[in-house]
């Protein structure tokens, strides 16, 4: 295998991606298997990417959402996370941890009005548990726990208007 690559997580499954070769016979190695590959950035937004991989054509839209990527293909969305092995190496040597700190801020997905806070400080929550009810776009919407953990901060009260992206509470 040539040089360093990337560790790329797609929907929680990790792959090692290494780009090899140059010019027309370009290849990419994925988890050790080689494929002929080429790509085109379709416009100046940098969000529309066409990938030809082993002859198959894939038309992706890519957006950043928090620290992750959201890729859309044929109407379905997929989550991705990419780590540069070279940078990870440097960090490791510098003693910077690459694992998550365990602190997750739960944010308002849109501006709205907090209708109810369903959990209390210190409470243990399970993944998917309803945490906050937010009224926006004419409807009441549930904000659910993205992971299990303990609520270590509650930043809002019922009746309070919040901006999109505002921290509602913290799970650790």
């Amino acid at each position: 295998m040539v040089g360093k690559g990337y560790l790329t997580e797609i929907e929680s499954e990790r792959h090692r991606v290494v780009f090899n070769g140059n010019g027309a016979g370009a290849e990419v190695s994925i988890d050790g298997d080689s494929f002929e590959a080429s790509h085109v950035w379709l416009d100046e937004s940098g969000q529309n990417l066409l990938v030809l991989l082993g002859g198959r054509s894939f038309d992706f839209r890519i957006e950043e959402e928090d620290d992750r990527l959201m890729l859309t293909y044929n109407g379905r969305r997929y989550r991705g996370l990419v780590t540069d092995e070279h940078l990870a190496d440097l960090k490791r040597r510098a003693g910077i941890s690459d694992t998550p700190t365990g602190r997750t801020a739960v944010k308002a997905p849109m501006p709205g009005l907090v209708v109810k806070v369903l959990v209390a400080l210190g409470e243990e929550v399970t993944k998917g548990q309803r945490l906050v009810v937010l009224e926006a776009m004419k409807m009441e919407n549930d904000v659910k726990a993205p992971r299990p953990g303990r609520v270590t901060n509650v930043a809002v009260d019922a009746g309070q208007p919040v901006n999109g992206g505002a921290e509602l509470l913290v799970i650790e």
């Binding site: 937004s45 082993g54 839209r61 991705g80 997905p109 926006a136 409807m139």
Partner: protein, 510 residues
């Protein structure tokens, strides 16, 4: 007096729909818009546009005085209300007429009558149209009502007389819960509508929701344009609608049409309206309510009749008499509508407002998209998250479903999450394919799946490559920006790369 200029008292896709109809018959249009909609598509498409207030609907799209003032200011001679907002407000309808303007909708009296659920039930019963068994007036004595309800059989649905949108509604499974449910629902209705009166209906289990589109002529005679099946619902909101229904045959269509026409003529209905029915397993149908406006799902009827319902509304309201449009003897082919919401199905259908970084509609034979947005535009947080309606037509239902799958795949939206993928999964479901869907189908299906169908290995690898390429490019751009000090490093870099490769925008992996 000939109608010349129509004010469209709405926003989003339905405002665009009405403006398109105006352009097609050379009527001028006036868009009204809130501060959140300054760059919205209806404002771009109308001949005139008038800012009427802040984003909050009460100060703009629901504000009767401001809309009337806009109509006078820009010399509109008619008002089309779309659906929602003021479309079923009899005060507005009457006011429009009082101001000397043409109201593109039914008479205020018909709106009032059908808006009072008890009055509507009484009228319909008198006309011999079957209704869902239930109380014949507001509940005055809950205990006495319970006895009657027990005769009809539980479960029972308690509903607010002034109701709508599921508020003040309670499903009562057993007689023991009756009193508590009644009191809670009445309190809720009082809070929501300032009217705590309740009535009850027998709760039909696993019904279908089928409705008849009618057009009432100025002479009081109504015609039916056939049915729409709207059983795919979530939170009492229609999600997918189609015409014809898989359970309606010509005889049943004729009987339902007759019932709908009777209902419409009985309340002096003029214009486009919809009579909703519940249909049980034995294909008995029961009057549910009448919607005194253009429906969201009107395009499926247009697709199978060839009739432009908005233009028929103008013709009826025009005051020069009206000849009913020619209709095919049977529905011509099959049409299905998909409501595309800016909601995130992977996150409990939370609304997903934002900027549409990518927006490309599907195309091809039998595909129509009604929308109120455009690439680069915004989905504001203040209003209903419906951004588009995809309507596919096929010679038969199978062809329509095939076209729908392809069109849903082709529908490219970036920047906000949408319900497109849910539609794809629903129409691939055997129950939908077989046409065996009742109003509980979608909630049941959504509860049974987490939406994570396995990812094909080729796609998974391509996703990994795409994500990696994106990250690599971002990293390179950032480092170049810092290093070069150029005002616009990206573009020049881009062009240099293109020159190297001999073709703009093409690159091979290296």
């Amino acid at each position: 007096m000939k109608m010349k200029r129509v004010l469209v008292a709405n926003r989003g896709e339905i405002a665009v729909r009405v403006i398109r109809a105006c352009r097609r018959i050379r009527l001028e249009s006036v868009a009204v818009f809130s501060e959140a909609d300054r760059a919205a598509l209806p404002v771009r498409m109308a001949d005139f546009a008038c800012l009427i207030g802040p984003a909050a609907p009460g100060e703009s799209y629901l504000n009767i005085d401001r809309i009337i003032a806009a109509a006078h200011r820009y010399k509109a001679d008619a008002i089309h209300p779309g659906y929602g907002f003021l479309s079923e407000n009899p005060v507005f309808a009457a006011r429009v007429v009082d101001e000397g303007l043409t109201w593109i909708g039914p008479p205020a009296e018909a709106i009032s009558l059908m808006g009072d659920k008890i009055a509507a039930r009484r009228l319909i019963t008198k006309q011999g149209v079957p209704i869902v068994p239930g109380s014949d007036g507001p509940i005055t004595d809950p205990a006495a009502a319970l006895a009657e309800a027990q005769k009809a059989g539980f479960p029972i649905l308690l509903k607010a007389v002034a109701g709508g949108g599921g508020k003040g509604m309670r499903l009562v499974e057993k007689p023991e819960d009756w009193i508590a449910s009644f009191e809670a629902a009445a309190r809720e209705a009082e809070r929501a509508f300032g009217d705590g009166r309740m009535y009850w209906e027998k709760y039909l289990q696993q019904p279908r929701h089928i409705e008849i589109q009618i057009l009432g002529g100025p002479d009081g005679k109504a015609i039916s344009l056939g049915e729409r099946e709207c059983s795919i619902q979530r939170r009492h909101q229609k999600v997918i609608e189609e015409s014809p229904s898989t359970v309606v045959d010509p005889d049943m269509r004729a009987r339902m049409s007759q019932a709908a026409v009777t209902a419409a003529q009985g309340c002096g209905y003029i214009g486009a309206g919809t009579v909703e029915f519940l249909v049980d397993r034995d294909r008995n149908f029961y009057f549910l309510e009448m919607n005194t406006r253009l429906q969201v799902e009107h395009p499926v009827t247009e697709a199978v009749t060839g009739c432009d319902l908005v233009i028929e509304q103008f013709r009826i309201a025009g005051g020069n008499g009206w000849t009913p449009p020619p209709l095919p003897p049977e529905p011509f082919g099959h049409a299905i509508e998909f409501r595309i919401y800016a909601e995130d199905p992977q996150n409990n259908f939370l609304p997903s407002p934002g900027t549409l970084s990518v927006y490309r509609e599907p195309q091809g034979p039998g595909v129509r998209v009604d929308s109120g947005v455009y690439q680069g535009g915004e989905v504001p947080v203040h209003y209903d998250p419906l951004i588009a309606k995809l309507v596919v037509w096929g010679r038969d239902r199978t062809e329509a479903i095939g076209r729908a799958q392809a069109a849903l795949e082709e529908f490219a939206v970036g920047g906000v999450a949408t319900t497109i993928d849910v539609h794809r999964r629903v129409i691939a479901h055997p129950e939908f394919v077989n046409g065996n869907t009742t109003t509980d189908f979608l909630p049941r299906y959504l509860a049974s799946t987490d939406g994570d169908a396995p990812i094909d290995a080729d796609l998974r690898r391509a996703l990994a490559v795409a994500a990696t390429l994106y990250t690599r490019r971002q990293t390179e751009r950032r480092s170049r920006t810092v290093g070069s000090g150029s005002a616009s490093p990206e573009r020049s870099d881009w062009l240099a790369a293109a020159r190297r490769e001999g073709v703009r925008r093409w690159s091979v992996l290296n």
